[in-house]
Each structure stands twice: as C-alpha cells, then as structure tokens.
C-alpha cells in the first residue's frame, strides 16, 4: 500500500497544511507499511516540488506541471488524481478550502465515499472524524477499495519540512477539462502568520465594536508574533474580512495560545478553537460562555485591558 498526499502550495512554496497531512499519512503508512508520495500539481511549480522532496518521510514527489493545474481548478486536477489513483491505497489532502473543493470530486469519479476532515487514525480503514461541529466524534470504517480522505490539520502535529530527499518524477494528466477558468484572486495581504498555522492567535468579537478598533488587537498580536482572527459576529458586522473567521464555518485552529477578546463564546465559535492548548478570555460580561472553557479569564473593559496588555508585553520584551 502506498499513500499519496496532495500538496497544498502556491507553485513556489509548500503550504504548512501539507505537513499535517503528511503526518496523518505517516500514521497510515506505519499502520499498513508502505511509502508516502506527494503530488504537486501546478504551473511552474518546480520550486514547490523541490520543497516537497525535502519533507521528512516522503519517498517520491510527483510533479504535474501544466497551465491547466496552475490555479488548482478541481475540474482539471480531479481527472489527474483519478489517473494516478490505481497506484495508491489512500489519497489524502489537507481539509483546507482547496482540499475540500477537490477531493469529493475525485471520490465521486472513483465511486468512493470520502472520509472528510479526519482527526485521528484507528487503522488503515478506520478513522475518527468530528460531526455536529465537533460536538460528537464518529469512528467510521471505509468499505471502499481506495480511501479518499481530507485531514483536519490541527489534529496532526506537522511533519518535518526538512530532512527528506525524495526523487521528483514528472507525471501528466488529461490537462484542461474546458469547463472552468480562473478569473482572479483577492488574497488578504498580511505580514502576520496564517491563522491555521500560527502558534498564537488573538481574536476579536462583536465586543470590538468596529473594524478600526482591531488595531488594538493587532498591536498585541505583533508583540506575540500572533495571527489575528475574529468571530462570525465580527465578520458579519463587517469589522474584518471573512478569512479572519474562526469557527465551525470558518477556520478550525488549535494554536498553543488563543486569546479571545470581546467574544462571548457561541457554540459555532468554540467549535473552531476549543482544541487550542491554552485559552485566554477577555470579556466584560463575567457570565459569557467563553469563560467556561478558558484557562485564564480576565473580566473587564477590553478597551482598557488591550492597551495595558500591549504595554505589559512591551515592558517584558525589554
């Protein structure tokens, strides 16, 4: 049995979520005994493929370099995976928007039921996955000949990005399906780490009152080298863009430290961050549900506390 991991990349670098998927692949290959291969499908993606070849534990990197794969359109990439599938026992991808978009299309073409968003591996055919926004955990066994899986990144500590020296082998697929085209991307530019791979996250909720006030959070985030997140309430109120959203329908995160500021703690938000190692809640309402899961709670006015916190962190950094 051999496991194929679909790399998430921007043609230049491999995204961190790939390393979590490789970690899950390692567990599967240890349970079943087999190699791990990585597919880098893109356009002018040699640099990304070379980076993938350095990931520890990877035996081979497949590079599919074609204009049709440049933007990861599922209509084009899915047939490529279908053509590679006969050589593999498992196809894995990170449960990112890219992986979630692509893998079910592959699964249906292979007449396989996908196992979505797994959080643990029991055996080569049995996996644990959260359902009902993480309020229950289902253990499911796949009866299909090939397992198609998306991996919840926060559940698997990332594998090592360095240490491997896999061979890079070119593969080609059917190319463009002629069904869809990429028009444009409007990606948020930020010097801060990505939410899903940040060690520390500072998130703001409705209590922030406006988008302008997020600079108070950003100041604290920058002292901690943290990413900035938000609750759905803050996103819906237009304070910050949607890609800031942490929660059931946003990003699932599990940093070492999560600081929730002015967030009451709706179930939908908790579903996205309750696996964080240490949770700090800052809220003026001492009855807020967020305090029930926070390791450290501070009751008070965030507009007073945030500048104090900023100053305190600055003092300690001197």
């Amino acid at each position: 049995m051999t496991v194929l991991v679909v790399a998430e990349h921007d043609n230049k670098a491999v995204k961190p979520a790939t390393l979590n998927a490789v970690a899950a692949a390692s567990e599967i290959s240890q349970a079943g005994g087999g190699d791990i291969h990585i597919l880098v499908a893109g356009q002018d993606c040699r640099t990304a493929a070379d980076a993938a070849a350095k990931i520890a534990g990877v035996a081979k990197v497949l590079i599919a370099d074609d204009a049709a794969y440049g933007h990861g359109l599922a209509e084009n990439v899915a047939p490529l995976l279908v053509s590679l599938a006969p050589h593999y026992s498992h196809l894995l991808a990170p449960a990112t928007t890219q992986g979630k978009n692509l893998m079910p299309r592959v699964a249906a073409l292979l007449d396989v039921m996908q196992v979505s968003d797994i959080s643990a591996i029991v055996s080569t055919d049995t996996f644990v996955r959260p359902i009902y926004a993480g309020n229950a955990l289902a253990t499911v066994q796949s009866k299909d000949a090939i397992k198609i899986i998306t991996v919840r990144g926060t559940a698997f500590p990332p594998g090592e990005a360095e240490g491997g020296s896999a061979a890079v082998e070119a593969v080609s697929g059917p190319g463009s399906a002629g069904l869809s085209e990429f028009v444009k991307a409007e990606l948020s530019k930020s010097e801060r780490p990505e939410l899903t791979s940040a060690r520390v996250i500072v998130s703001g909720g409705r209590g922030m009152q406006s988008g302008d006030n997020f600079h108070l959070l950003e100041a604290v985030a920058d002292k901690l080298g943290a990413a900035v997140g938000a609750s759905r309430a803050a996103v819906d109120a237009g304070f910050v863009p949607n890609d800031y959203q942490v929660g059931q329908t946003g990003k699932i995160v599990a940093p070492e430290l999560y600081i929730a500021v002015g967030i009451s703690g709706a179930i939908q938000h908790l579903a996205g961050m309750k696996d964080s190692k240490v949770i700090v809640a800052i809220n003026k309402d001492e009855e807020a549900p967020i305090f029930q899961i926070a390791d450290y709670g501070l009751v008070g006015d965030l507009f007073k506390i945030l500048p104090e916190l900023d100053a305190e962190l600055a003092k300690r950094q001197q």
């Binding site: 039921m113 968003d117 009902y132 955990l137 796949s142 399906a177 069904l179 948020s188 179930i267």
Partner: protein
C-alpha cells in the same frame, strides 16, 4: 432556465446535540429539526435569480424519510415552485445523495444547481462536488457571489486567505457559503400557498440508484470536555501566568 436546489433536514442549529447512550449516533428523537442553514441560503439565491428573470422555475429536492417533505414545504413557503421528495428510510451518505440528485436532474433538466456547502449534522462538505463530478459539470464551492450571463456563471468563492473568482460553463453546480445572501422568512400567506404547491415523490428504486452506505459508523462518542480554568485579577497577573505557569509566551 430552471434552477434546482437540494435541501437537507437536520437537527436545528440551536439544539445542543447529545450522544446516544449506546454510542450509535446522536439523539434525534423529539429534537427540533430544520432545514440545513446553508440550504436556506441556496433557496434564497435561486429565488433571487428567478426574481431577476434569469431563472423561470425553482425546483426543490430532498432525500430521506417522509418528514423531509416538511423541509421541502419550508422551501416552497419561501417561494420555490415545486418539490421532489426522494423517499427512503435508508441511511444516505453524500455519494448516494449525489447519485439520487443526478437522476432527478437528468429528468428535470436544470441548468443551475445550488446547494449548501455542507450539512451541519455530518459536516461532510461533499455532495455538491460529487454531484458536479457525476454530471461532468463544473463546480464552484463556497460561493459568496453568483452572477449568471451568456451561458456562464461567474462565482466568487471564499477560500483560505481571501476570495477567488472563477468562471464556469453552464450547466454548473454552485455550493453556498454564509455570505452569499441573507435568506428571507416565509410569510404567513406564502406558508398557506405552499400547502397547495405540488411535491412529487419517487424512490431510489424508481431512480435506479443503489444507496447502500460505504462508510460504517462504528461508534459515536462525546469529545473530551474542556474544563474552565481560573479568573485572573489583572493584566499583569495574566501575563505572568502565561509566562511562568502555562509557558506559552
């Protein structure tokens, strides 16, 4: 052009789910059931396309037990034109649902299919993509904006890191994200009117679809509960505890 929307009956999003004592699933008896919230957004989007004159008819489909008819009625009360219920007591997994929808679509001939990006019960996030694959149609998942013109659909998608816009050749499948629209409420007159709107009932056998599950649920458990911690009195105490006790900064 016809639009087809698929809707799922799920445990209402306000209900705190409880795992059954025998670990076979979550309690659904005597629990409030509603339309999957993402599917409400899908209905709303189809209705707006009809109101804009792009679409002439909105067909709503649901698959499952007899009570799924109520979910279809909700969609009809919002304004959809007619319904199709694929009636079965069998457990339906996304691949089977995609096959059922494909069969209905081949009969009905819609040019645009809109469905929720995921159901809030199994959180699979698969059906739309699978349906598009089986039909050989393009797909746009996690849509926050949809524009249809000249035989193509331009869709803005919510992706990690921002937004992405793709152009799809019609017919196409679009799955909805939260910010696509704000679904309307059904007015009382429309709820009354919906009672007279037609709902066809078919079975998986009628459609020639094998719905046998491919995944076996071995058990369902509660996640480990997180314990609340302590309240601190000041910013200074907080920072000191994070440094020396939790050792995370």
């Amino acid at each position: 052009m016809k639009a087809l929307v698929a809707v799922k009956r799920v445990v209402d999003y306000n209900v705190k789910v409880r795992v059954k004592a025998d670990h076979t699933g979550v309690e659904t008896a005597n629990v409030k059931m509603s339309m999957n919230p993402f599917d409400e957004i899908a209905i709303e989007e189809a209705l707006r396309l009809r109101e804009a004159g792009t679409v002439e008819e909105v067909i709503v489909v649901s698959a499952g037990i007899q009570q799924c008819q109520e979910t279809i009625r909700t969609a009809l009360a919002m304004g959809a034109d007619r319904g199709v219920l694929v009636l079965t007591d069998a457990e339906l997994q996304p691949l089977a649902v995609a096959k059922l929808l494909k069969a209905v679509i081949q009969k009905e001939g819609p040019e645009i299919v809109i469905i929720g990006k995921q159901a809030i019960d199994d959180d699979c996030n698969q059906t739309g993509q699978m349906l598009a694959a089986l039909l050989g149609w393009p797909q746009a998942t996690f849509a926050s904006k949809l524009t249809i013109s000249d035989g193509s659909a331009e869709v803005t998608r919510e992706v990690d890191g921002g937004l992405e816009t793709v152009k799809l050749k019609m017919p196409a499948v679009v799955t909805t994200d939260l910010r696509l629209n704000e679904p309307r409420y059904a007015s009382l007159p429309n709820i009354m009117k919906a009672k007279k709107k037609p709902i066809d009932t078919v079975t998986p056998d009628d459609l020639g679809v094998d719905v046998a599950p491919r995944l076996v649920t071995l058990k369902v458990e509660e996640p480990v509960k997180r314990q609340g911690g302590v309240k601190v009195g000041s910013v200074e105490e907080l920072v000191s505890k994070l440094k020396t006790e939790a050792r995370v900064i």
